[in-house]
């Protein structure tokens, strides 16, 4: 009985994925009707997301064995192998849960005049969702690459949906290049992984044996490919360009979900397909991850565009996830399986959390964008009074992403710090003294993230409106609110009941590492290693704060009074202050620019004291752009110029080439 049900699980999921594709094409029934596409197709897609999440959750909870289906599609002799195991189950759960919120929001978000026809947007959007699900379900390299490329292309068309703006075209082009460079690396990695058997199913790859050299080559190629997709420094440059260019639900999907497929791929290859692992890999991932995390946090702090700020924060979060994966490999190769499970748990829980809160925040920027037509932080402010719904839901997202208890961001932060505590026990001299310092870098990153998010929330929603037009800002519509509420509830739920996340992750660590963290039997707290060692209870913290607040409020009201007099804000004896005199986003970034100046290339124009129309301009650039990407671009250009010499434009020269080639071949054959 359980077995027949089990097969249905995967069949049913494939049915839902197919339904997504049908939804995408259904838009062409009425290609120009925003009402039809947005109000009917997107909510249906959102229900399908919920279905995927439920199926994946049931699959994880039931503890069934992996399910396999072979679809006779694709090329002859190369059918699509599809497999649902706990790792894909977890990532499908993540996809489904966050996708539900995003699709619901998107139903309210897309209006006429987004550039592309609504049907095309709907097609791209649903193909994007379906291809992400297929990436996660694929069980052979062929299907994986087909799904991966579909994902890259559909998201490219979504990013460039407002293609009439040159910057957006440029951002899309950069994204396309990086996506393809990454895809080539992944393809090469699979090429190494098939190990001479020319069997491209994942089963064959699991069975193959590798010398350390080839295993490391496959790992490094995978790291390049998936790192480029995930936005690991230095392959991150497309991320702050492409995410802001896309419409907000698409940014949310790219940041919340698509980056996670790269995490999935990395885990699939390094923990599942490769049967051997080396501690050096872990150290490399750890170093790259920590650097990315710090880099992302520092750059996020100096951004003045709200979506770019969030994009850099995504780099930071991906860095944290890679740090945790690296730590897990380090522990695992040192036979410290419990701690490896703890670190991997941190990575997976953080992936889930990031999918929730980053989607939430990207969606709120979408609402702000619709309400104000402004993306620049310097022209926003005071929206908490105009958009109370969006502001209060964004506050939950802000507190979550800043890693503050009792919300969900803190749970994964806490798990990661806990796993760092055991690094001095690593059996590598030096590393066991160096890595604890990584915990300090991590603490710095978390605290910087809080700084960034105070800037984000404070400048957009608090203070006085910096532009007169903001007075007309309107709150989000009900579908948008519903989507935001779904994600915010997710943040609060995982914050209060981290056990849920641990339960969802436990089968995955059980399979990949053979060990799970301690799941305590009470609903009250989590104690992943031992009760005496450390424990945390989000629920009691939340309930405790709320009840003390309530008691204090009642006591103050009973014992004192509730009188309030409305006055002007204190103006320091200078009553001519305007809202432009508030601290700006640039001002908020100033301490960071001051302290971490070596990270930036900064161009700054200061007005002279006698200027009558003073203008202050600061332009910040990533040093890596000039150090790595421009030389590569110049090299490619030069190479193309050289090859261009061949192209003389005269027919006789081309005939000469053919003749010479023929001659050369003849010499070769004879």
């Amino acid at each position: 009985m359980a077995n027949t049900l089990a097969v249905h699980d995967l069949r049913f999921m494939l049915f839902l994925v197919a339904a997504w594709m049908m939804l995408g094409f259904a838009g062409f029934l009425r290609p120009h009707s925003t009402r039809f596409v947005a109000r009917l197709l997107f909510p249906t897609g959102s229900l399908l997301c919920l279905g995927i999440a439920l199926l994946a959750g049931l699959f994880l909870a039931s503890g069934q064995a992996a399910q396999v289906v072979v679809l006779p599609l694709g090329l002859p002799d190369l059918p699509f192998h599809i497999r649902l195991d706990v790792l894909s189950g977890f990532f499908l759960l993540l996809l489904g849960v966050a996708g539900t919120g995003i699709s619901t929001f998107a139903a309210g978000y897309f209006r006429s005049g987004e550039g592309t026809a609504p049907a095309l947007l709907g097609l791209g959007y649903h193909l994007f969702l379906a291809s992400m699900a297929m990436v996660i379900l694929a069980d052979d390299a062929y299907l994986f690459m087909v799904a991966w490329e579909t994902m890259a292309l559909s998201s490219y068309f979504l990013v460039t949906s407002r293609h009439r703006i040159p910057e957006i075209r440029r951002a899309g082009f950069l994204y396309l290049i990086m996506a393809h460079v990454g895809a080539v690396c992944i393809l090469l990695s699979f090429g190494v992984l098939q190990g001479g058997s020319w069997q491209f199913t994942f089963d064959a790859m699991r069975a193959a044996h590798f010398t350390p050299f080839w295993a490391t080559t496959a790992f490094l190629l995978a790291l390049l490919g998936f790192g480029a997709k995930a936005g690991l420094v230095p392959m991150h440059v497309w991320l702050p360009e492409a995410h802001p260019a896309a419409p907000s639900p698409v940014s949310a999907m790219m940041s919340g979900l698509m980056l996670k497929t790269a995490i999935y791929g990395m885990l699939r290859i390094s923990f599942d397909l490769l049967s051997v692992r080396f501690w050096q890999w872990g150290a490399l991932l750890l170093a790259l991850g920590l650097f990315s995390a710090l880099f992302g946090a520092i750059f996020a702090a100096v951004q003045t565009d709200m979506k770019r700020l969030l994009a850099y924060s995504s780099i930071e979060n991906v860095g944290l996830i890679f740090t945790a994966i690296g730590l897990s490999i380090l522990f695992e190769t040192s036979n410290m399986h419990l701690f490896a499970a703890l670190a991997l748990t941190a990575a997976l829980v953080h992936s889930l959390n990031h999918a929730l809160f980053k989607s939430l925040l990207f969606l709120t920027t979408g609402s702000v964008l619709h309400a104000t037509k402004q993306r620049s932080l310097g022209k926003l402010g005071g929206l908490i009074r105009r958009m109370p719904w969006v502001a209060s839901l964004a506050l939950i997202g802000t507190l979550s992403i800043a890693g503050l208890p009792p919300l969900n961001g803190f749970v994964s932060e806490w798990l990661l710090l806990q796993s760092f505590l055991f690094t001095p026990q690593l059996p590598h001299a030096f590393l066991n003294m160096l890595i604890p310092l990584g915990a300090a870098a991590l603490a710095l990153t978390f605290a910087l993230a809080a700084y960034v998010m105070v800037k984000f929330y404070g400048v957009i929603f608090l203070g006085q409106p910096r532009e007169a037009s903001l007075v007309n800002a309107h709150d989000a519509n009900w579908l948008e609110r519903l989507g935001l509420i779904w994600l915010a509830v997710g943040c609060v739920t995982i914050g209060a009941f981290p056990q849920l996340a641990l339960l969802a992750v436990a089968p995955v660590t059980g399979k990949l590492i053979g060990q799970t963290v301690r799941l305590s039997s009470t609903v009250w707290w989590i104690a992943p290693i031992a009760r005496e060692q450390a424990s945390y209870s989000g629920l009691i913290l939340l309930a405790g704060i709320l009840s003390v607040v309530a008691i204090t409020f009642i006591c103050v009201r009973l014992l004192a009074h509730g009188r309030i007099r409305r006055t002007d804000a204190w103006d320091c004896g200078y009553p001519w202050q305007t809202s432009r005199m508030q601290d700006t986003a640039e001002g908020f970034g100033q301490p960071i620019r001051h302290m971490f100046g070596t990270f930036f290339r900064m161009d700054r124009n200061l007005p002279s004291p006698s200027d009558t129309a003073p203008r202050y301009r600061v332009y910040i650039e990533d040093r890596l752009w000039r150090a790595i990407y421009l030389p590569i671009a110049r090299g490619v250009q030069k190479l193309a110029d050289w090859i261009g010499i061949l192209q003389g434009g005269r027919l006789s020269i081309y005939l000469l080439y053919s003749f010479l080639t023929l001659l050369a071949l003849l010499v070769f054959v004879l």
Partner: protein, 317 residues
């Protein structure tokens, strides 16, 4: 047995709420003596709170609900933290709710709320204070984490009650790393509580203030709650310090009687008296640093903590 531990929990939280302003008053008194001023009475903070609770709130016209809710949230987080930290007993029902890392997170929650509230009105000073406060926060947190890391290496736990128990079990051996960690902790605690090398609690000079700049728009009961929360925060930091470095007198598991409780309260008051006097001495002897020097100061704290860690790993292991 369970009931009595809930009673102890309640007593501890109530005691913290009650004596936190007294601790602030004591520091102010010591400072006045050291600076040759006539000291305010010990109970001055309570009078201040009473006065503030009786006044009418003067609320800026643009203030949002976040601004009005923040004092309560601050007070709530600080009371909860006081209930979690084992200041007099270790056998507390709430003690397992948060280990020391989660406590640092709880303080960060309070800091973020206060910073957001300071930005709410949209005056230049509020935002300036918020920015500086968050800056001090991200500089202090790595150092604080290293201190906790060191404690974890010594006693294998980040949970404060377990640390106290562990320390009591190894009383005879004092690891040299503890000294470095303690120094780093004191430096961080000064910075986090807006004390003198970083901030001056008694200044209202606009350009130099950090903490006070954030409170400019608060008045009456809101201000009272924020002030009370600040003194609770100082009290909490002192108690974390005692739990980490001077856990003598704290009633541990097993020592549950009323006698042990009385001894614990007496020990706590004694430690607070000395710590308050020491704090006043530090504040009187040192000058406030320019804000640009704050990174150096906190980097120093961080280096001390790392040094402690290395000492432990090289010598202790």
């Amino acid at each position: 047995m369970r009931a009595i531990s809930f009673v102890r929990q309640f007593v501890e939280a109530a005691l913290a709420i009650a004596i936190a302003p007294l601790f602030t008053g004591w520091i102010a008194q010591c400072r006045a003596w050291l600076q040759n001023r006539s000291a305010p009475p010990l109970l001055q903070p309570y009078r201040m709170l009473r006065k503030l609770f009786l006044k009418d709130v003067a609320l800026a016209t643009g203030a949002s609900a976040l601004f009005r809710a923040t004092p309560y949230v601050l007070f709530g987080t600080m009371v909860l933290a006081a209930a979690i930290i084992p200041s007099i007993v270790t056998d507390l029902p709430l003690a397992r709710v948060a280990d020391s890392i989660a406590l640092v997170g709880l303080f960060a929650t309070a800091r973020v709320f206060l910073s957001l509230a300071a930005m709410d009105i949209g005056t230049a000073f509020g935002t300036l204070g918020a920015r500086r406060e968050m800056m001090i926060g991200f500089l202090a947190e790595p150092a604080l984490l290293m201190v906790l890391f060191n404690a974890f290496l010594l006693y294998g736990s980040t949970s404060l009650p377990s640390l106290v128990d562990g320390y009591r079990a190894h009383l005879s051996v004092i690891d040299p790393s503890v000294i470095f960690a303690a120094l780093a902790f004191v430096m961080v605690a000064l910075a986090e509580n807006a004390r003198i090398p970083i901030d001056n609690p008694s200044t209202h000079l606009e350009l130099t203030m950090i903490h006070e700049a954030m409170l400019l728009e608060y008045s009456a009961r809101h201000l009272a709650l924020v002030e009370w929360a600040s003194s609770l925060k100082l009290f909490n930091y002192a108690c974390i310090g005692f739990a980490l470095f001077l856990p003598w007198g704290i009633a541990t598991h097993g020592a549950d009687g009323a006698g042990a409780l009385l001894i614990a309260i007496a020990a706590l008051i004694g430690k607070l008296t000395i710590a308050g006097a020491a704090l006043a001495l530090i504040e009187s002897l040192s000058a406030k640093l320019r804000i640009f020097r704050a990174p150096e100061y906190l980097a120093m704290a961080f280096l001390l903590a790392v040094l402690g860690l290395l000492v432990h790993l090289l010598v202790g292991a």
